[in-house]
Amino acid sequence: MMEPGLYHILFISATLFFIGVFGFFTRRNLITMLMSVELILNSVNLNFIAFNKYVWPNRLDGVFFTIFVIAIAAAEAATAIAIIINLYRSHHSIDVENAEEMKY
């Protein structure tokens, strides 16, 4: 069996990216939206790794970057969750459509 090439992986990551974007646009539940963001970030991670492995094997920036992205994603998620909890306190729901008070 042939082993996967760069483009396969890029394809997967791109798909992942757009799945994430789609989820972000369509999901009503804030937590789910957050998960979709995570998908996007992970697709980026895939990109980094792939590029690092196939294109620039001797430049390790990609790997490091991935590590940091994971860390940041965690931090972001933490803050977001906190905020969402707070929102739940005031709105008694975590449906994004209930938080559209400010507009125009």
Partner: protein, 645 residues
């Protein structure tokens, strides 16, 4: 020639009077203002007489020809090289003659007004305005620069405006003064453009240079001015015609005469001074001033002057026969007499015997000033006594106003051209000139002279004879010395002025002109005049119904004449309907709705757009992200595929 700068004082003294009385009059000189104004004017009258003497008999003549002297000239405002407004004094026969006339008549009026307007509230203001007027008129006659004459022209206009509006609380007076100012202003616009044309071609504004350049056939300026043409008429002719329009406006020539009758709203002495003797002849003076150019370079323009004069003379005479307000009658007669002067100039040529018309016109100006001022002052005395301008309130006054009666009679005879009174001589010369050069105008003039005699005596009889006087209550006599003295003096003038050998002093080219006197020629006019007089006597000496019968018999003409041939209505139509409704109102509307509307529209559209796109900010965070992605993709597509580098 001796130092003659003192002549500057002649206009400046009245000006001083104006400033003094105008600023401090109401507070300090409540009662003495009349004496102040009069004495100042007396001084300048004496000065001008002295000047006249000096000019005519001493230094004015150089080997038999009267010179144009310019004793004083100051650059007032320089536009560009050579083209500048100068304030100066020009001395030549006509200006000197006018100096005398203006100061003398004005002095008479000053004296007369002392009594006539006694106790008026705005007595000082009145004398201030008189001073202003006299200053401007004198400045006008001695102008050495065509723009200077325009300046004083305007000043004369405004002082007449102020004096007509003297009784400012009478709506009729207000309307009259506005009318007078606007009509003359309209004419002045023509004058201004005329000046611009002339000055452009001659490259100067100074009278002497101007005339010298535009009369000398060799000069390039003249060639340019004649060759350049618009609508087939040479630029020079255009210029002169436009200048003449200015003159016609001031001199109430047809069809710009409509302001003059209404101007009678002013105090009667003012009418005597401004609207009979001096200001209204300014137009004649202007044409005379530019006469060489008219005569030598633009005969066409001169012809126009002639016809306009003749027509005005006739029309005015006809209208005068039907008016019942005595001042209006006099006003129309003034217009008709000025018509005489105009066409006298029109039929004249430059120099020698052919220049008779010029001399005659000036002569008539001189004599007319005398008797017309006299007539007005006399009418003033009557009105002062009767407190009315209407003929129907008058009659049989000869017993009550003997002096007025006599002087008035003299004046009437003079204007009717009955020998040996002043009017006779000047009119004779005019008719003679017309007879020689333009028979058509001559006959018009002849008819007019007959009519003149008729309507003047119609006036005379219906004031002093006709029905017995209905004098009610209080008798304050004829108005005392201050009012009678001018009458008498002017009567003397009106009686005797004719015997001055005018041609010796005033002529088109400054040479001595011996006006021969032909008895056989003068039969016709005199006969006509007498006929007119007797007809008037037959109609108006005793109270009867003949006038009404005749009026009825030629009712259409009579009605038309009585309504002044509907010219006022025509003007009213043009101004109110056309200028106001068809130009002014649309302009205002356009500004309010279109121009301003556009400005507001921009504002409103902005508001509108901002209202319509507010949906962009939907408050949905997911939509925000979507727009975000759209932006990203849009930019990427734009710069990768469309906008290549």
């Amino acid at each position: 020639m001796p130092n003659t700068t003192y002549i500057a004082l002649i206009p400046l003294l009245p000006l001083a009077g104006f400033l003094l009385l105008g600023i401090f009059g109401r507070t300090y000189f409540k009662n003495t203002s009349g004496m102040i104004g009069t004495s100042l004017l007396l001084a300048s009258t004496l000065l001008s007489l002295y000047t006249a003497y000096g000019y005519f008999f001493d230094y004015g003549k150089v080997n038999g020809v009267y010179q144009k002297l310019v004793p004083l000239q100051i650059t007032w405002l320089e536009f560009s090289k050579g083209v500048s407004i100068d304030m100066g004094i020009i001395l030549d026969p006509i200006s000197v003659m006018m100096l005398v006339v203006v100061t003398f008549i004005s002095l008479m009026v000053h004296i007369y007004s002392l009594a006539y307007l006694k106790g008026e509230e705005r007595f000082p203001t009145y004398y201030a305005f008189l001073g202003l007027f006299t200053f401007s008129m004198l400045g006008l006659v001695i102008s050495s620069n065509i723009f200077q004459i325009y300046i004083f022209w305007e000043l004369v206009g405004v002082s007449s405006f102020l004096l007509i509006g003297y009784y400012y609380d009478r709506p009729s007076a207000v309307a009259a003064c506005k009318k007078a100012f606007i009509v003359t202003r309209f004419a002045d616009a023509g004058f201004l453009i005329g000046i611009l044309i002339l000055s452009y071609y001659s490259g100067t504004l100074d009278f002497n240079t101007l005339i010298q350049k535009l009369t000398n056939p060799e000069s390039l300026e003249l060639k340019a001015a004649v060759t350049a043409s618009f609508l087939g008429i040479s630029a020079l002719t255009w210029g002169l015609v436009l200048v003449f329009i200015g003159g016609a406006g001031k001199s109430a020539m047809f069809p710009l005469h409509i302001w003059l009758p209404d101007a009678m709203e002013g105090p009667t002495p003012v009418s005597a001074l401004i609207h009979a003797a001096t200001m209204v002849v300014a137009g004649v003076f202007l044409v005379a001033r530019l006469f060489p150019i008219f005569a030598l370079s633009a005969p066409a323009a001169l012809e126009l002057v002639g016809y306009v004069g003749a027509i005005s003379a006739l029309i005015a005479a006809v209208i005068a026969c039907t008016q019942t307000d005595i001042k209006r009658v006099l006003a129309y007669s003034t217009m008709s007499q000025i018509g005489y002067m105009m066409f006298a100039l029109g039929v004249s040529k430059y120099g020698g015997e052919d220049g008779l018309g010029y001399t005659a016109s000036m002569f008539h100006l001189f004599t007319h000033a005398m008797f017309k001022a006299l007539l007005f002052l006399g009418a003033g005395a009557v009105i002062h006594y009767i407190h009315s301008n209407e003929m129907k309130d008058m009659g049989g006054l000869r017993k009550y106003l003997p002096i007025t009666h006599i002087t008035f009679l003299i004046a009437c005879l003079a204007i009717a051209g009955v020998p040996p009174f002043a009017g006779f001589f000047s009119k004779e010369e005019i008719l003679l000139a017309a007879y020689h050069h333009n028979t058509g105008i001559y006959y018009l003039a002849l008819i007019t002279s007959g009519l003149t005699a008729f309507y003047m005596f119609r006036l005379y009889f219906s004031i002093f004879w006709n029905k017995p006087a209905q004098v009610h209550g209080e008798h304050h006599g004829e108005g005392g010395f201050a009012m009678m003295m001018p009458l008498v003096l002017l009567a003397l003038g009106a009686a005797a002025a004719g015997f001055i050998p005018f041609g010796h002093f005033v002529s088109s080219d400054g040479n001595r002109l011996n006006s021969a006197f032909h008895l056989n020629f003068s039969i016709a006019p005199v006969a006509l005049g007498l006929a007119g007089i007797f007809f008037a006597m037959w109609l108006y000496k005793k109270q009867n119904d003949r006038p009404d019968k005749i009026a009825a018999s030629l009712n259409g003409l009579y009605k038309a004449a009585y309504r002044k041939f509907y010219i006022d209505e025509l003007y009213l139509f043009v101004t109110k309907k056309i200028l106001f409704n068809l130009v002014g109102r649309p302009a205002a509307w356009f500004d309010k709705n279109v121009v301003d509307g556009l400005v507001n529209a921009t504002g409103n559209t902005t508001e509108y757009i901002s209202e319509t796109i507010k949906g962009l900010q939907s408050g949905k965070v997911q939509q925000y992200a979507m727009y975000f992605l759209v932006g990203v993709i849009g930019l990427a597509v734009l710069f990768i595929y469309i906008w290549k580098f």
